[in-house]
Structures are given as C-alpha cells and as structure tokens.
Symmetry: C2
Subunit: 201 residues, 2 copies
C-alpha cells in the first residue's frame, strides 16, 4: 500500500530504485522559476535555445564527458562485466560520467575504483573519442594497476584481467571500448602508445 | 512603456538583449514537470543530486567543454580582442562552448569562423586543460589558416596575427589561453608539438 507524504506525494514510490531516472535532454520548465519554456533564438545568438520569457534564463545544453581508464597489470588489461543497463552482461573498460568539481584524471580513477575496486596510476591521456550522435566525448587514460586487487562495485558483476589474445571482442559494451582496445593492440605492435583522437559516427 | 503579452509577460523586456542570461548551475525546479526539486541521494547513488520526487527525474550536472583553435599563418598566431564580457578588451584564442551534435573539431572550427572569420585546417589535438574550479575542460587544436582572411564577428572587436615575440602577455583573456600559448612557444623550441594535458588549479 502506498503512503502519502505531506506534499501529497506517494513516499514509498520515491523510495523504489526504479522510480528515479536521469532527466531526459528535452527541457519543458525553467529550472530557476518553474515557468514553461519556449524554443526561441535569444538576441545575439544564432541557434534555437530553451528559454524562459519570465525570468530570462537561457537553458544551454552541452555534450557530456565520460572518463575512464585502460588499467594494465602484468601485461593484461582490466575489463568489468556490467551488472546494469545499458548493455548489462557485456565487458567494459571502467568508465562513467565526469562529475562537477573533478578533473578528467580524478574522474577516471574514481570510476576505476567504483567499478572494479582497482587502484591505478595514470600514465597519460590515451584516447579522446567524439560520439556526436549521443552528445558525448569519451576520454580514456592508460594506467598501471598498483597491485592485483579487484573488488567490483554494484555496477559490475565481475572484474578480471584479460591477456590481449583473450579479449572478449564479441561481447564488449560500447564502441568507445572496442575502439580504445584496438588502439592498444595496434600501439603494442608499434611500441608507441597514443594519445589518439577519434570520431565515432 | 511595457506591453504585456497574452501570458502576462512584459514582451518588450524579453526583446531586450540584457534580459536573457545563461541559467545558473543551481537548479530549483524540475525541467520535466516544474515541481520544486529536493537535494537528496538517489537510491544506488553515492552523492547528493537535485531530484524530483514527483516525476522521479534526477538532474545530474556535468562539466562543460570549451573548444578552440591555435590558428597559425606564416609563423604568426591568431588572437581575437574580446568585445563582450567576461574579459572584454583582452586578447584570446578563438574558442567557445561545444554545442550538442557536434564534434570537438567541428566546434573548434565553428568558433574560429564565428569569432575571427578565419577558415582553418586542424593539425590535431593540442592542449586538453582541466579547470575544475569552474567545472570546465578546455580543448585546443593546433591549426593552419587556409589564407590571411579575417572577419571578426560580434563577439570580437578585432582579430589579428601576432608574431611570437609580439604576443600581448599582459592582456590575455583566460589562463587556458596563456597556458596554451606558453606550450606553443616551448614546443617551437623543441620542434615537437603536443598534445599536452594540463590542470589549472
């Protein structure tokens, strides 16, 4: 049975993990004053924006950054088996959305700790991958694991080091992951490791 | 005299260039349903978010990317004199916020065209600069101007090519600009040009 909070809201619903979801990109109300937004070109701009004709706030939107690592331990590469959608049950490099107030490097190390329980030392920027059809840029750092410890968090069912000839190519999570791993194999032949800037159409 | 639109809104005010402003980072109302937001940790998350207990939308926020170029023509570097705040009347590399649906490269070339009226061919990623205290990552490409044409847009009072020993160091706009120009001078000595990943504290 649902209980109703003081605001008239069914409190049990909001406690359910399924109730909350990332806000879609489409914006309908002003985050500053709650007024319905209009789609219009602001004075001096050259494209349509979501804007509030009540308080004047223009709600610009920008691509998001995903940050991660390519952790290496004794010549093997770390992959995590995703426990959550999208792409549950596929293998991925540890990565996730960059948070406010952090650097690319801090975000990449945080995601590696959260998803794999692995502590790493970053070698340097490795791949920068534009994915314009989803409004994202993915950034991976090449990294050395500081030891063999793995402790996958709630977003991962498993975390494991794969020899380069054991990478599960048929069951990888995202194209930025397979692209980064292909760069790694090619660079290993050349003995020279990135950085690479690529675009996925 | 202000006229009032059908929504009760003073229409002349909204037509004034000064009325509109970028929405602040602080969010108070849900963009999906207009309900006041609460600051709370969603189930399964590990930090506080702005969330809507009415429709379940979680309003994540992420750092923004600024993209630009370092345009070179006959051994000189292009700078633009800013016509607008912030930092009006200071010299800058052409750069601006990356837009949805574009790549880093397209954004950098678009900004170069908009701010300087210069067409460029990109050589490659040059600097990637974390600026965590303003929640931004700045990305510059080294670029060759295709000809000497300059036609500064409304955001620039002037655009001009500077010899390396004429760069107006005392009157540059942002630290990512001076940092990128310093990289350029150092790389010129070495004869090897980036890319560089840096953090501005």
């Amino acid at each position: 049975m649902l209980t109703v909070s003081q605001t008239g809201f069914p409190a049990m619903l909001a406690d359910s993990p399924d109730f909350f979801h990332p806000a879609p990109r489409a914006q309908h109300f002003c985050s500053q004053c709650g007024t319905p937004l209009v789609r219009r070109m602001p004075p001096g701009d050259n494209r349509l924006r979501d804007l509030c004709e009540h308080c004047g706030a223009v709600h610009y939107q920008n691509p998001r950054m995903v940050v991660g690592t390519v952790p290496i331990w004794q010549g093997k590469v770390l992959l995590c088996l995703r426990a959550i959608e999208p792409r549950a049950n596929t293998w991925t490099l540890p990565a996730g959305f960059m948070e406010l107030a952090e650097t690319l490097a801090h975000g990449a190390m945080r995601e590696t700790q959260e998803e794999a329980g692995a502590a790493v030392e970053l070698r340097g920027l490795y791949t920068v991958i534009d994915i314009p059809h989803v409004d994202q840029v993915h950034v991976y750092f090449l990294a050395d694991a500081v030891d063999a410890t793995l402790d996958p968090g709630p977003e991962s069912q498993d975390a494991r080091y794969f020899a380069f000839d054991e990478i599960p190519w048929e069951n990888l999570s995202f194209r930025s992951v397979s692209t980064t791993l292909r760069c790694l194999l090619e660079d290993r032949e050349k003995g020279c490791f990135g950085p690479h800037h690529l675009v996925l159409d």
